[in-house]
Amino acid sequence: MISETSLEKLKILAGAAKYDVSCASSGTQRSNTKGGIGNASAWGICHSFAEDGRCISLLKIMLSNFCIYDCAYCINRKSNDIPRTFFTPEEIANLTIEFYRRNYIEGLFLSSGVLRNPDYTMERMVTVAKLLRTEHKYNGYIHLKAIPGASEQLIADAGKWADRLSVNIEIPTENNLKLLAPDKDFRSVLEPMKIISTGILQAKEERQKYRNAPKFSPSGQSTQLIIGATNDTDRTILKLSSALYSKRDLKRVYYSGYIPVNSYDNRLPALNTPPLRREHRLYQADWLLRFYGFKANEIVNAENPNLDLELDPKVTWALRNPHLFPVDINKADPLMLLRIPGIGTHSVQLILLARKHTRLNSSHLQKMGVVMKRARFFITCNELRSQNVQELKPEIVRQLLLEKKAIGTDDAIQLKLFNPVMPALGQ
């Protein structure tokens, strides 16, 4: 079982899993059962932070890094000559429990390279989840990666034990996927997604009728897209995300700036550093889709197929639509308040509550966390106002905002990105 030799295996299999960005364990509320261990807390908890600034909440690991496929962007592709190993399902279950009891983790995030065939692999993964839930009476969080091409029955089994299932799309268009991952196609990825979303929907309906009907992947499904490995535009990416949110009811789409792990492969672009800034802008745009009531075509369109790397997407949208501003803080409806640059969801809540008491002025706004140096061009409040975007013209405002930002933005960017609690866009 677990011994000194596990150290080396852990090193390889955690190292192999690290490029999967999903860190969230939030979204499920599962209470402990009598005599059992663990619960899932709705907010998710970060148990540590890696030196790259990412939250560590799960034991994110691969069952095996042997793989019969040869995806160009993946460190574990079969043509790479790297150390390979695997854990048995019992070992993974054990490690999870021991880490969990010491409060190192919120739960398990298990993926795997494809061993023999998709079904064989998926079956072993399901075994881990089943062991944890039955033998160990474990009620903590479990996220399983569905293996593209696995049978419907196995995916249905996985959904019974796991809190979340995900299938990574990785490459946003079919052509580019075929180019980089010849063993996969859109169908093998989208089919499991469809099975999962149908399963989730059915289970929800059942549970409305019978309180004790079994849950199915209760914390939903998510996926990951790799950014910058292909020539796909942000417009293509965001349209895909917004379709996934609305049609497949996904909980999250994660964006992962491409890290050149196989630089010898000339189907891939030569990059010196991962496109972190673009990745960050996509996350901001994603917040706008999910929490701010924006539509994908408001953020990117045919004339502007890519996000502005210099300014956040809410600001760029506002500068393209000066006729909607300035907005009166004391009167505007919540949806319009959300669209003001420099004002986040939290500030909107505070403004709505506070303006019942007093007419708000800029010093109130500042105390509520509104970023005035951005917001001031787009609002009027109860006092002498500064010049707004209409009077100054969008181009000038853009310049003014860029000057203000000249210093040290990259760190701030990362911080917000991995802040697990509040959507921080525009704050």
């Binding site: 150290l7 402990n32 619960n39 932070f49 890696a50 034991l59 009891r101 506070a354 991995f418």
Partner: protein, 258 residues
């Protein structure tokens, strides 16, 4: 100048509010802790904690605002900073003296200050929920110690009690020298006089640790380093999210704060 002193309990603070209203005299200065302060002021008004008075003030707060607001006041009290009692008295007066519910009136500086501190206390409690590291003992129970910035253990206990319901555990605040012990049924407050714990890293003496404890600490440390993407290293953010003051208690940091 009105100087009040109280026993540094939450009930004591609420009693202080009650007495101030009764005497129509409100504190300019508040001393806390039992007799530990030198008497700098001639006429210190020493509050006798009275649970019934405290309850009346609690109910008053609930009536003038909300139950949640009363709980928030308790959480802010746990900030355990020298100026917290004064801030709270000011806040409670604002709530009680008004006919409207003032808890959401963010145009009042004291409401803003109160909520900021509340957020800090909650954040610390949330961090402790995540950063507590249990060590398995020879007896099969689990022990953790920490030194939280604010007195937040009471806020964390329900979470640990629910999550770790099938294991015995102790979580100990080394800074305030008290902790909580769960015996599979109840949680009780404990104070140890001769704790066999290294105050530098919160680790139990090795004779008390289970055989495989060191192995799992090593595995966790290995995991921690393997999961980091070198190409994305970001020391500044790392330190912001995982402040150095926690490092010495974390196996993955090698129990070093430097």
């Amino acid at each position: 100048m009105n100087v009040f002193s109280f026993d540094n309990t939450f009930e004591g603070l609420l009693t202080l509010v009650f007495d101030s209203y009764q005497q129509k005299r409100f504190p300019d200065e508040i001393l806390s802790g039992e007799g530990s302060q030198p008497v700098l002021f001639a006429s210190t008004n020493t509050i006798e904690t009275d649970d019934r008075k405290a309850e009346r003030v609690w109910n008053g707060i609930v009536k003038h605002s909300s139950e949640e607001n009363a709980h928030r006041i308790y959480r802010v009290f746990l900030a355990d900073l020298p100026d917290t009692p004064k801030l709270l008295v000011k806040y409670i007066r604002l709530i009680i003296d008004s006919n409207k519910n003032e808890e959401t009136n963010f145009s009042e500086p004291v409401v803003v200050e109160f909520n900021k501190l509340h957020q800090k206390v909650c954040r610390e409690a949330h961090r402790i929920n995540g950063f507590v590291r249990f060590q398995k003992t020879v007896e099969g129970s689990y022990y953790a110690s920490f030194a939280p910035m604010y007195d937040v253990l009471p806020l964390c206990i329900p979470h640990f009690r629910d999550r770790f319901a099938d294991q015995q555990w102790i979580i100990y605040d080394l800074k305030r020298n008290y902790g909580f012990w769960y015996d599979l049924k109840n949680v009780s407050r404990v104070v140890f006089d001769d704790l066999k714990v290294n105050p530098q890293n919160g680790q139990l003496h090795s004779s008390l640790l289970a055989d495989d404890e060191k192995l799992f600490q090593q595995l966790w440390k290995q995991y921690y380093h393997s999961i980091c993407i070198q190409e994305r290293k970001n020391d500044k953010v790392h330190r912001q999210l995982l402040p150095q003051r926690f490092w010495k208690y974390l196996p993955e940091k090698g129990f070093h704060s430097l």
